[in-house]
Symmetry: D2
Subunit: 269 residues, 4 copies
């Protein structure tokens, strides 16, 4: 069995090793390109789509009878799609890829930094705070499964340390990873807000002294363990009718240890 | 509801915030410590157990009625176990942890470098080659699920490039990640050999000129795509009666691109 | 001794700890912010300035008599400058920062991905290839010292392996880091071209089969050691009258080893 | 001009490309191997030498008249030296390497994790805390220049936040990098202690509740900026007659920002 050659560019004389038959009878779940940097524009849910740089994994399944996939087509499909990447476009991109490769399904992982403008809580001094977004999607003829993830830095202050100490309480930067499957799109900016409201305090890029006083006191008034952080978020995601599935991880870069505290909850099916 | 205090060390006067009740009714799948560096000795399947440095994640579930876990106990259980860590010991370590935390199950991720002595193919010059091992285990009262992984560097030479070029063929370092669930233990060293025999050539630390000639010609004689690499390994794992489940990933640091070629196959249930 | 308070935002009531005197008589070379992600637009020397995401370090010296710097001003100066960052602007940004902080000098490190469109050598198929750029600058009242760096992926094919083997030759992805001090600006795109022409072959994102044949044969016809790579570049930089100082590093991700080959040359004063 | 062939292993028939002449008249400062993992045993200054895994860079200069170095000899010299690596041995290793390569000087970079047992401050619960060590050495016929570095995690509590807030103060994990050139060896363990005593608190792996109370209160009682941290250390290193040169960096993973605070001081010549 032979796939049609990639005849748009392949001259008759060059052997198409990839399209030769394979006899091991092992279909491959995912084959393609990984760790590719690519400039994209992505909608955050507030303001214009943002220009950013994504790290991309783009794969498709390979039926058992073919020796190899055609790697250049992954790049061609990505380049042909162009830089503006709305979550709504991912399904079309993956189906185009699957069709060109004679695959049943295709898969995308896309991770990128993005920014939200944030005003300091007292002085209102404006600054840009950075986050990480991720789209993970699989599409076949009939359906598309999209998981949207944000990675958000927060402040966490330890309830135990506060309860037992005569003054102060250890606190630290934490990092929350929230992943969702949704019925209707939930913007990245809204996912960030949900996470930030579940912590002892949100982070800021610019804080003047009156702001620093405010966030210090706010964190002291709102102690959370990593356990509290993931439960605070889970309570919200459990009650949001738009959300079909969720997973939340919290990791604290403990200020009193050289290891991290960690918690994970996933919605049970 | 209240868990017994950590009375071996906790003086009566200090409030045990973690043991206080929680009313959100959300059990936590995994809570514990992450990104902890810890010295271990681990059996490779050849020679004495090797001293190495592991990066550890150690977690347990938290029933919904408790506010927090007791983080110090994860460290105490790990320290009490001591440095020599055979895969056979993991079950005991995890059950000890679950018991001390009043959890139903506990989970461990342990990743570490290890070394095999390898002789150059012609001159026999000896050298140490490095690999990465990983144990991922979950245990409850009744059973333990252990996944053993090796990450192995290899040489891959492109069959397409060889077939179409009048001289030479692009080749590169690749990296294979092989994970197994087994009926009986398969040593890390044996997993490494399986991967190395499936590539265009294995890697070496010391190669004199006659050796370099031999590995260059061997790779040229044995071209493999990432697709071939994962299938070569899958053929073996499919036929090994000791192996219950397997997953294999291959990633080529392509010498003609700035992105990587990637393939993944998982045994279907 | 006391610095004027940061009176634009600091209410009279809040103590300015940073401006308090220090008696240890130790001036600090660099103090400020590090590992800050910030969106910028940067001119590459071809086409429009590109939108990208920089990782920023921004510091200033601290005279011995002050206890601390004012961290929020680093962010304010960066935000006030705005996103478009031409190398010509860096001097102004650093002097503004030094003035606001009562420092003698200020220092910037800025690293970011950027892209060049590249056409495949036979079919002309277009694709975007990624590079890393870096500006490292120190400015005081009188002068500015700017070092511009590009990190460029290349193909290297081993001359020894080719000379001794009956067929093929090991080759791999390599990475070249070229840093320059110049009399007049040299665009990043021109620095990339210099590096790419010194290797066995340049890299591409899209290669169809006729292109893959061409780059395979080109690399085989142009073998280079890491030593050749850095010397090829040094020969050019030594003879370019615009270049005052240069340093070049090459690192090969050897396809036959699990370690890298490395070479470094710096222009002698 | 031709170097003697590597005749211990090179058969007469194989061309020694590396030893062929080069006419570009560019000597190379450093050429060799990088990013090599290698098991070592290293003395910490307390207890037995520790087994650990080093990441190694090993290079030598290459005179202008030779085309290439002989990469396999770097590995042979390292393997011949064996695993136990005392700082006192580095000079001999580098001179052996330089002699075998007909180089004037050789250079080593060696980075590795190490551990110290630490008892919790109140309960005395024992645990292992991890650090990173680094040896950076250059040797020629006449002299050896050795720089010894430790990277140490600490707790820092912000003096400004404490001074202006009605309760609490932001604190975080910080990381200090201390490098020394010394007249007589100073053990890694002693360098660690110097750093830990200069912070708001040292870190621990095991802390029971009475310990957590103690370290929380200790940090609150000893606030330091990154500026204070580097000055506290500089005061000591300036007055230690064994120390010829020093450099200290501090980086705080700020709990209220997503970027880090950073300070650097180097001893003026």
């Amino acid at each position: 069995m032979k796939r049609p050659d990639d005849d748009s560019t392949g001259p008759a004389g060059l052997r198409d090793t990839q399209s030769e038959p394979d006899h091991r009878r092992i279909a491959i779940d995912r084959v393609g390109v990984k760790n590719l940097r690519f400039p994209i524009r992505v909608g955050i849910g507030t303001g214009e789509p943002q220009s950013t740089i994504a790290t991309v994994q783009l794969t498709a399944d390979l039926p058992h009878q073919f020796k190899g996939t055609h790697m250049s087509r992954f790049l061609e499909v990505l380049h042909a799609h162009g830089p503006v990447l709305h979550p709504e476009d991912i399904e079309h991109l993956l189906r185009t890829l699957a069709r060109r490769l004679h695959s049943q399904s295709a898969h995308l992982e896309l991770e990128f930094p993005f920014f939200l403008e944030k005003k300091a809580p007292v002085t209102g001094a404006a600054g840009l705070l950075d986050y990480t977004g991720r789209f993970s999607a699989t599409a076949d003829d009939k359906s598309t499964d999209l998981v949207t993830t944000v990675i958000v830095g927060v402040t966490t202050l330890c309830p135990c340390s506060k309860a037992i100490s005569s003054s102060g309480a250890h606190n630290q930067r934490g990092q929350v990873t929230l992943s969702l499957r949704t019925r209707s799109p939930i913007p990245l900016a809204e996912m960030v807000t949900l996470v930030e409201q579940s912590a002892s305090s949100e982070l800021y890029s610019v804080l003047k002294r009156p702001d620093e006083k405010a966030v210090t006191e706010r964190a002291y008034a709102n102690p959370v363990f990593v356990e509290d952080l993931v439960r605070n978020i889970a309570e919200h995601t459990n009650h949001d009718p738009r959300i079909v599935w969720w997973q939340v991880e919290a990791e604290n870069f403990e200020s009193i240890h050289n290891h991290n505290a960690y918690a994970l909850v996933t919605k049970r099916p």
